[in-house]
């Protein structure tokens, strides 16, 4: 499975370069590259120092932290690709997405079983959940504001989200059945990553180099004029509906 994942990662990198998609998704390309580097260096280190050595353990988790940071940045890049054209919404969404990521990290910290030997998988799970939550919220945003992301960005985001959800679930099961689940945990993690790689290869099979069209923005004051009026009328409408309901209940 390791060899298959490495080969698929190489294929994806080649695809990114050949189709010139690295120009549009530089951080994503960096993430795939770092992940590939981790994979190859881990293989070398395990062969040299053994699977159970302290040095291997530190190196593996250190590199995992770097890869996770690269993944978080790649997700941020995707969010920017999808929403940055709409300046107002993007500024608003950025705060919500960052806030929700912080809340999910907090939730993960509170809900976890605090054992020192599980500290790293727990931290990883928290970050994975935060990444997944950010992507889900991003899709909720696009649906609410009826902004349709292009197919590639959508597939990349879905790949990230599914992978993060699976990793978080895998880490949770590992925490419960630590002694019996180690090997299976590793295999399932690689399978999930392969599925995401496959989805990303499919999404990036064509060139995505066309420039994003500029959106025509309304004058700065338009929002301030219209939106409070709409909200005021909506509030009145809700009050009216409430009255209808209350009158009927009283009558009955």
């Amino acid at each position: 499975m390791w060899a298959v994942n490495t080969a698929t990662s190489v294929f994806l990198l080649v695809l990114l370069v050949l189709r010139k998609n690295y120009r549009k998704y530089p951080v994503f390309t960096f993430y795939i590259f770092v992940n590939l580097a981790l994979s190859i260096s881990l293989f070398t280190i395990y062969r040299r120092w053994g699977f159970h050595s302290i040095a291997s353990w530190f190196f593996a988790w250190g590199m995992t932290a770097v890869v996770m940071c690269a993944r978080a940045l790649a997700v941020a890049e995707l969010c920017r690709h999808i929403l940055a054209r709409y300046k107002g919404i993007w500024a608003f969404a950025r705060r919500i997405l960052l806030g929700s990521a912080g809340l999910v990290l907090l939730y993960s910290g509170v809900a976890a079983r605090h054992q020192w030997r599980l500290a790293l998988p727990s931290a990883e799970r928290g970050l994975e959940l935060a990444i997944a939550a950010v992507i889900v919220l991003l899709f909720v945003f696009t649906r609410y504001y009826e902004v349709r992301p292009n197919g590639t960005a959508r597939s990349l985001a879905i790949g990230f989200c599914l992978y993060s959800c699976f990793r978080a679930l895998n880490d949770t099961i590992l925490e419960r059945y630590l002694d019996d689940f180690g090997t299976l945990w590793s295999l399932l993690g690689m399978l999930a990553f392969f599925a995401s790689l496959f989805l990303w290869c499919w999404a990036l099979r064509k060139s995505q180099t066309e420039a994003a069209t500029e959106e025509y923005l309304l004058p700065a004051g338009a929002y301030q004029i219209l939106t409070p009026q709409i909200n005021l009328r909506l509030r009145s409408l809700n009050e009216q509906l409430s009255k209808i309901w209350k009158q009927e209940v009283t009558r009955q």
Binding site: Y86, G88, A91, R95, I158, E215, I230, N231, I244
Partner: protein
């Protein structure tokens, strides 16, 4: 099963469920063309048909039927009236959603949005949906007074009128701004 496993698995299941809902795009769902022209593409609001609905629901007709027509006919008329009102209520919701859509277009096309206003609209939308469903079920069960719908219609109608006036004002301001910008450009050209 441990509490941690339940807490995390539950959260992940919720995330996946929301992802499925949010990422799913039905074919017929049209894309929001983030274009100011789309603000003007609203058709005739359904609230304009209020007089016809009033006539269809006139109590005089019903009283007349009570005196002259047999029970079977009365029941049929009652059923048909209810279906008319339900259709009208659905149309009102369409008007409401159309206005909400306009509000979203404005938000999407604005260089700056205010979080409080956006959250307020979200809350009001959820409230409207909940109350609308309650009233619809009351109508379906035959316990809601049909005349109470007048207030609802007036509110939606009023909202449409005010929005149209505000958009007209906005269009005029944009035209003035464009004229001003082009006159400045012309002056620059003259200087060069």
């Amino acid at each position: 099963m441990s509490l941690t496993l339940i807490l995390f698995s539950g959260f992940i299941v919720i995330l996946l469920f929301v992802l499925g809902w949010a990422a799913w795009q039905p074919r017929e769902r049209s894309r929001l063309h983030a274009d100011p022209c789309s603000l003007e593409q609203r058709g005739q609001p359904h609230t304009n048909y209020l007089p016809q609905i009033h006539q269809a629901l006139a109590p005089e007709d019903y009283e007349f039927l009570l005196k002259r027509a047999p029970g079977k006919v009365q029941r049929r008329v009652r059923r048909e009236r209810r279906s008319v009102v339900l259709a009208y209520l659905a149309a009102l919701r369409e008007d409401f959603q159309s206005l909400l859509r306009m509000a979203r277009v404005i938000a999407v096309l604005s260089p700056q949005v205010i979080a409080v206003q956006e959250f307020e609209r979200l809350r009001l939308t959820a409230q409207f949906a909940w109350r609308y469903e309650l009233i619809r079920w009351k109508l379906l069960m035959g316990v809601a007074p049909m005349t109470q719908l007048d207030g609802l219609s007036d509110l939606v109608s009023g909202l449409s009128v005010r929005m149209e006036a505000a958009l007209k004002e906005l269009g005029e301001r944009a035209a003035v701004a464009a004229e001003l910008a082009s006159s400045i450009d012309r002056r620059r050209l003259d200087v060069v």
